[in-house]
Symmetry: C2
Subunit: 330 residues, 2 copies
Amino acid sequence: MLGAGAWGTAFALVLADAGNEVALWARRAELAEAMAVKRCNVDHLPGVELPEAVAPTADAAAALAGADLVFLAVPSQRLREHLARWSELLRADAVLISLAKGVELTTTYRMSQVIAEVTGAGPERIAVVTGPNLAAEVAARQPAATVVACAHLGVAGRIQEACHTEWFRAYTHTDVIGAELGGAIKNVIALAVGMAHGMGLGDNAKAALMTRGIAETARLGVALGADPYTFAGLAGLGDLVATCQSPLSRNRSFGERVGAGVPVEVLTADTRQVVEGVKTCEAICDLAERHRVDMPIVTQVAAAIRDGVPPGEVLRTLMSRSAKHEREGI
Amino acid sequence: MLGAGAWGTAFALVLADAGNEVALWARRAELAEAMAVKRCNVDHLPGVELPEAVAPTADAAAALAGADLVFLAVPSQRLREHLARWSELLRADAVLISLAKGVELTTTYRMSQVIAEVTGAGPERIAVVTGPNLAAEVAARQPAATVVACAHLGVAGRIQEACHTEWFRAYTHTDVIGAELGGAIKNVIALAVGMAHGMGLGDNAKAALMTRGIAETARLGVALGADPYTFAGLAGLGDLVATCQSPLSRNRSFGERVGAGVPVEVLTADTRQVVEGVKTCEAICDLAERHRVDMPIVTQVAAAIRDGVPPGEVLRTLMSRSAKHEREGI
């Protein structure tokens, strides 16, 4: 496991519970050491004990020595630089599994594309794990389900077996593109749902935004070669529902304050870091434009957040579009 | 509009706002009279003014005289007996549009099948309107979206036009079976989500239940001739999300109390009437068995509610199923 943030650590727990020996690499030597001594990731998952089978380390070479399944849980915008350093340490047949949700900003590449480009691995060595998996709940061994996607179903099956536990159910899939796109875009739709909530709109409007958000994602997915049904699954809808429900979602609460009329400059100054959905929104707008796909919700989120269009106007634009067939473009 | 409950009345408002003259039939003469005098449905939508274009009446013959679009908003278990009485009053070319969500218990017929059997109308005269439409929000003119399904797309388009307003967006579809099944089953999945909440499970588990609930509904839908993608749309997922979010959902809160350990007999005695999802659950189990479709969530809801199996055991059964492909059977 490369990356010891909340999700990397929680997933290392899942792997350990499923019977694997797991090397858990942390970028900072202090964190690796603290985890080794205290048997807990105090920075990101306080109160959760690390199983014996998890071995923290700050030495990537040691972590990768002999590893056949390599899980990548570093931030999406950092994956490229990390991988470049790790490439030579990888076993020639190691499967590289992305746990990051996002799109690389400069290239609009999905994580699997970054992996392929940097390491030269073929599709049978690249996979994605994604779904409604709030790290704190998974670490608390609350029941959850996820998707393991790899172009080669047999490889997906191997990973599924490696992470299937009593309380964590993994489903295989071959649609890597759809799984990644679903994970990336849900933060943008969560911004939209947050905005609706901040404007005082009700459950009908929020449910419609989620559903139509999934529909426009499916349109983009089809253009990129994904299976449209993937977006109705755990990697799309499932992840979106969990994100929109969770009081912990920074995307949703950022959207809420935009909807309530707080200017974006104020929010950005306030939160210091830009929330993931805002960055992803730009990348998705680029992709949609390049593939000439109509994505009204993503476009309007961008209008509100990048161009400062008032939420009321954004809503009017969405509601006044011409009448449509529900499956238009899917 | 035949039926002046909350949803019938709210939808009459939508039709009036869209520019139609609407006769609003109430079963009870007192209610029709009160609405005519007070210009408000005090029983079901207190505080909401009826537009001038809505004409309340208790005389079905008067309501149906010349009506080309007939919306049916009576309870699903009562539709057959009402329709038998109305059949002769219908214009020969009147389109019959079901607004009820449910399956007839004795026959496991969907509402469109009941309409076809009782009136002899062909598929070009039978339609369904369904989606995430909490009546109170629609009546308050909060933004919402819905699906208008008819085997004949042109007819769906006519109905879409008749109910499309500034704040209510209707999407056409030709999948009547999927639209009806989605509307019926969401109450059963809402029971499951409520149970999970009552057991103290988190957002991951609830999101997984919703998503996998939609997946098993899609399996049944495919067996019955529906388009699996319909369940990812407003009539499936959208409606489910709104129902599970709403604090007003009786299905969800019934499930919550079951999950918290209250015996079902106590709850049924308490609420006097059986919640819709409990009835629908039986009918869906019948359908699934007849078509040999594996529906683990619906089956386990039935086990908990009909057979009194403890929620903890139900959860263990669901989590211990063999590992699967996400699209198995869809």
